[in-house]
Structures are given as C-alpha cells and as structure tokens.
Subunit: 148 residues, 2 copies
C-alpha cells in the first residue's frame, strides 16, 4: 500500500514553507516537524522581519512542535528542512534529542556537518531529498537580491 | 579614573539574571548584552517555563538586544554570560557577528570550545570571570533538584 505521508510528502510541506519565506522577502528555507502522520510544527526563515538571526526555519518549527507537545523533547519526531541545518540549529536539535533529521540541499559553507557530529548520538539524519529544487530556490532568491 | 561599567559590573548583572532564573526554578544561567555603557538586552534560562530547549539565556539576551537596536548584527556589542555558551548559542552568536563574548564558568561537557572555533572570526572571547560563583550557583541548583 502506498504511504501518502512519506518523506517526500513532508519535504514538500517544508518546501511550501520555503516558498512562503521567499514571498515574504525572507531567505527561502522551510521546515516541518512531524510525529507519525501528524504535523507538530512548521516554520520558515524570519530573520528579516524579526531582526533576529536566531529566527531560522528549524528554530521556528521545533519551538512550535515543543509547544504543541507541551514538552521539550522531540525524541519521536522527524524534522524536514529544505537546507542542511547550520551550527546553531544543529545545537538546538541536539538539545531536543530529536529522532530524525532529513534535509534537502547540502550547505558546504554553513552546514553543521563540516564542523562535526553536532546532533545527538541517537538522532538519525540524511540529506539530499529535494536538494535540487531547494538549492535552485535559494540561488534564484539571492540572484534577485543582487540584481536590485 | 575608575570605570564603574567595567567587565565585573556587567558580569554581576548577568549573575543577577542567573539568580532570577534559580528563583524561577530554571537552570541558573544569566546573560546581558551591552554596547559601551548601555544595556541592550538581558535574559536568563527559560527552558522549563517555555518548554523550549532553545530558550537559553544568551538567546534571550541577543534577541532582546537585536530588537532594541532594530538590526540583526551586534558587531559593537559584548555578551556577558555566567556559563560558557553551548554549541547552539555559539552558532547564534556567530550569526550576530558580536564583537566580544565574556563568560563565567567553563563547561567542559557542553561548552562550544570543546568542538572548535564556532564564533565569528572577528569575535573576541574570554572565559573565567566570576567562574567560581557561577559554577557554585549551578551546582547548588542541581544538588537541590536531586535532593527532592
């Protein structure tokens, strides 16, 4: 039987968040946090609107998810995010003890994996799902910014 | 001439925030962000009240400071925090490009410096100011928690 709530489904939801970020003039990165078939939290970059460098998509999504659960830990949850998390977000994910992280585009310059194993030892992770679409969206955004 | 707004003065302000955290049942870590003689932001750990692992003292203080400034970057500012920042907070401080970070107690287990140079290359940093008082406050807090 087909699973309508597979990784591709949830990454598309994260990508929708990235599109919403772009439309708001924010760096187009989006994220969702899921347990089983339930969406616990979603978010996109809000660093411009909030004047807050900590307002990354992942931070919004995990804060929303923890609020929904009424607890700090996300051990049963999966985060889907369109770009490899940065060091700050990986550090935050460490504290949540999240079960799994799936990202889209790799970020060789700012991604956490260049630094080392920053996630919790129990967190499974993989990258590359919808990587091209996510990378293209970012590139188009920064190209349009430079063109101004 | 004596400078009444020296490092010791501001670290005492951060320590006051740590005491407020303890009195609220939160892990006693406090922080302030300062430019020149002006306090831009302050905060203490709120992870319990907010059910949010990202609600560290530093995150509260830099978010408040950026809000006060109306801008994302804290290149002229100094953060005083009673405990060495974790990986998440160091990653956040990187994004702020903060001018200087001064911490109290070292954190060999969760502090960022065990991982590597996570702060911005332009950020100066040092630890050990009011280290004993800050460490004692944390130890007393965790001892009282275990004693319940």
């Amino acid at each position: 039987m087909l699973n309508p709530f597979d990784d591709a489904h949830w990454m598309r939801q994260a990508f929708q968040q990235a599109l919403a970020a772009r439309d708001a003039g924010e760096v187009p990165v989006g994220a969702v946090v899921v347990v089983g078939q339930r969406l616990l939290g979603k978010g996109h970059n809000l660093t411009e609107r909030l004047h807050d460098v900590t307002a990354h998509a992942e931070m919004q999504a995990i804060t929303a998810a923890a609020h929904d659960l009424g607890g700090k830990y996300l051990t049963e949850a999966t985060l889907y995010v369109t770009l490899e998390p940065c060091v700050m977000c990986a550090g935050a994910l460490y504290w949540t003890q999240i079960g799994r992280v799936v990202w889209g585009a790799h970020d060789p310059k700012r991604g956490f994996s260049r630094v080392g194993p920053l996630l919790h030892p129990k967190t499974r992770f993989e990258g590359g799902l919808m990587a091209q679409e996510s990378a293209d969206l970012l590139q188009a955004f920064f190209r349009s910014k430079r063109g101004r």
